[in-house]
Symmetry: C2
Subunit: 378 residues, 2 copies
Amino acid sequence: MKKEYLLTPGPTPLPPQISLAMAQPIIHHRTPQFQEILKEVSVNLKWVFQTVNDVFILSASGTGAMECAVINLLSRGDTALVVQGGKFGERWTEIARAYGIIVEVIDVEWGKAVSAEEIAKRLKACPQIKAVFTTLCETSTGVDNDINKIAQVLKNSAAVLVVDAISGLGAVDLKTDLWGVDVVVSGSQKGLMLPPGLGFISVSPKAWKLVEASQSPRYYLDLRKAKKALDKSDTAFTSGITLIIALREALKMMQLDGLENIFARHKKMADAVRAAALALGLELFAPSAASNAVTAVKVPAGLDGEKLVKTMRDVYGVTIAGGQDELKGKVFRIAHMGFIAEFDIITGLVCLEKVLYQMGYKFTIGAGVKAAEEVFLK
Amino acid sequence: MKKEYLLTPGPTPLPPQISLAMAQPIIHHRTPQFQEILKEVSVNLKWVFQTVNDVFILSASGTGAMECAVINLLSRGDTALVVQGGKFGERWTEIARAYGIIVEVIDVEWGKAVSAEEIAKRLKACPQIKAVFTTLCETSTGVDNDINKIAQVLKNSAAVLVVDAISGLGAVDLKTDLWGVDVVVSGSQKGLMLPPGLGFISVSPKAWKLVEASQSPRYYLDLRKAKKALDKSDTAFTSGITLIIALREALKMMQLDGLENIFARHKKMADAVRAAALALGLELFAPSAASNAVTAVKVPAGLDGEKLVKTMRDVYGVTIAGGQDELKGKVFRIAHMGFIAEFDIITGLVCLEKVLYQMGYKFTIGAGVKAAEEVFLK
């Protein structure tokens, strides 16, 4: 009789209509029937990516989409600038270096957003930088970067701006074309409310010139092949048929809601979680740049952070995320993205209070939930 | 009220218990709960791969697994021998060349199996060959290669043997360890009865030495990362959670059946389809090396092969496959693999007779079905 609740920053819970779509008999991918689905999904992906550029669907998880961006844009010996303020910023660096790309790193203190001025400074100092890799929502620290401001900096630069929006897309506003973002990568298991397994990448005409010039070896993730296929409403290789059919449902749901409402809902949940944490006397890990997709909270001194997460999950069925790498045991993260709603947040907070209490942490019972309720009542 | 029947060589139909497993609420992948599933699946994958070596799970479709094999084994300037007897043999060549690998090609006439003697000859003539890439079932032509014989040839060679068993695994016998196959790659949407989206690769100790030596740039498909994760019952990157949970069900079903029974069932269905084709006066495309996973049949002179496939699918709901590339319009292919059973084959044959009749082809109505029934009655 144990009920399970998922409040993690990927995978996020699946809406029942998406689960049912996936349970339908499978169809073949080289048929007019599937082609129709791909056409519809391609149009609606542009809507959620806020771009008129092609959005390519890869049968890979988010890291595959990140690698796709790196190798299609740059060649061995090229220089990239990477904003590194968490585990996923570091991933850009690792991928680029694996392909012999020279990486200029902006080391941002974990929990802080990057300063656009710093990017401007580095671009000026190193004019050979061909691409700037950054992160919309750095999942490991719960930080949202100001992509609009960063894009302004790059407006008159020769470099392209690449944004990892794996966690952020469909949760946090990202006006790809309006702001002038060249490449956006994302994944299926976050704001898009699907299981993991699909990666996405949108490419501006400016970035496409780099795709055509790139000498990096590539095949499965070659965007030239993806483009040739997409122009015929097809995919270069066997695609994740079931997930694409589910994606169609997810995009329909999102369109019924509207992007403005979706972003407002995420912000409200984020505000509620943050208000609750503060009301419980807890400290936010990223107070100056807290993400609307996921909140990282510092584990109070003297408490075992890993035990907290484990007890919530294994005893009470509420799965939140712990800290990764250098934050292991030091923070816990509550996701408020995708198909997570107001009452799920309340459930998560009640469970958090319960386990904090049992672990001997001192606070007023109900204070966190009350603070969250007050935000939701506004 | 139109019913749909899928007789394609990937995707293959999904068993209802697998669809239901996929419709369950999703769980997080960095939890002891998912770790247990990964452990079980890892053991059972070894069983279906007939190996004691690690079988790595990639969140990618079959081509991703093929690229994984190439780049983890070889570096720019290395030499590979590729058996090229169809579209998927050609893919080995394309991938290898994309990474600067020198490819010696054995061009096998489409519809024929490769001769092991030819491989021996080529290996002898070119001792710098580090790896031989071949195909168990060449889906595009419906040919099974004799991997046992090929493995004998390589037994005392320094080169490793790599087999694309994307279509063949779980349909056609492949005694990986007993025969001495070093690397086997496969995909989820064929004999394993799942949707596409997972790739698999098993690696022998001899091949692992190449993995450690390879200088090919790689990150997402880096087997060293996959190994490090697998040793902790984890995956290097977010995995295809839903498909892995479905894979657990598929492997359970297969174990209940037993490999011998599974291969015998595939052979019987293959025999039935071939007997039916001949009874209808049709010609097999690969009579000397016909696959037990998929049968390619020549389109009779004067008939429009593409129209045949299209009518079966769009008018009667029976999806078979047409020819690819140079075989477009010249063959049609009926799959008998995975969750396709005796009566599905009968359905496919009755529909084939129906459409052949309507297209003006002359034959005795019922002759194909009768021949198939006779095989099944044996």
